[in-house]
Amino acid sequence: MARSQKSQARQFALLALHAAEGTPLTDRALRDHVLRGLSNSISDLDVGDVIRDLELDGLIVGTLSELRDDKVWILSDLGTIRAKQLR
């Protein structure tokens, strides 16, 4: 994955979660939004990597969904600050 694509995907994931205003997004929904935001110029697998990196960087927080074997994501405090800077 090109560096600029990864950076765009990171930014869009943060912006999508910020746009949800605190409502958690399921892993699937977040991936789909990023794919759509980047006009499918990135693979689903790469988006998964980007989401994992964001979690490792402490920008997003994932909790296990009660509904199915899937995570739901929200922005951390740090992620909220970063997302606001991107707007």
Binding site: A19, A20, E21, P24, R28, H33, R36, G37, E66, L67
Partner: protein
């Protein structure tokens, strides 16, 4: 969410409403839009500038959609929770998740409806079970009280007029009455 002018704002932003109509409603080509801007607004720009503007606008519109859908799903669930105050918090959270998934995901999972229905049925079963247990406990308490009272009546008869025994009996009866009330 508050919006502000980005430092890299495009001069095309001043025509946003018009461009939204041309690009998203009329599906006009970038070439056409560029020509219309020159003709109607004396604004000169290349089709590729229009294309870049649309890329940015696509992103903004998607984010606006996420915000609107998130608000809608929160409102729907809040209203539902208000009308059904007996719902427990975990179920409401679950519902919020599903509502958000259904309304915001470009590829919502219809299976989620069945999962929520399953959880609702489970909660209803648990509630029925709890009611059944409460009913059994009430019945047991009532029968215990009847039996104890019968026994105490028998005891009262056999005590007769012994004042010391009578006083002990009265306090014991008070304890039993309180315990089985």
């Amino acid at each position: 969410m508050s919006s502000k002018t980005r430092s890299d704002a495009s001069p095309l932003n001043q025509f946003q409403e018009r461009l939204d109509d041309w690009l998203y409603i009329e599906n006009a080509s970038f070439q056409e839009v560029s020509q219309r801007l020159a003709r109607d607004h004396s604004f000169m720009c290349s089709p590729s500038s229009v294309w870049r503007w649309k890329q940015r606008r696509d992103e903004e519109r998607l984010l606006e959609q996420i915000t609107n859908k998130a608000r809608q799903s929160r409102e729907v669930v809040a209203r539902f929770a208000e009308e059904n105050p007996e719902l427990d918090a975990s179920f409401t959270n679950l519902l919020r998740q599903v509502a958000m998934d259904l309304v915001s995901s470009p590829n919502p999972d219809p299976q989620a409806i069945c999962l929520v229905a399953g959880k609702a049925l489970k909660l209803r079963d648990q509630d029925l079970q709890r009611q059944k247990l409460e009913l059994s406990a009430d019945k047991f308490r009532a029968s215990l009280r009847t039996k104890l009272e019968e026994g105490l009546d028998e005891l009262a008869k056999s005590i007769g007029s012994n004042p010391e025994a009578r006083a002990l009996y009265d306090s014991f009866r008070a304890v039993v009455t309180k315990a089985t009330a």
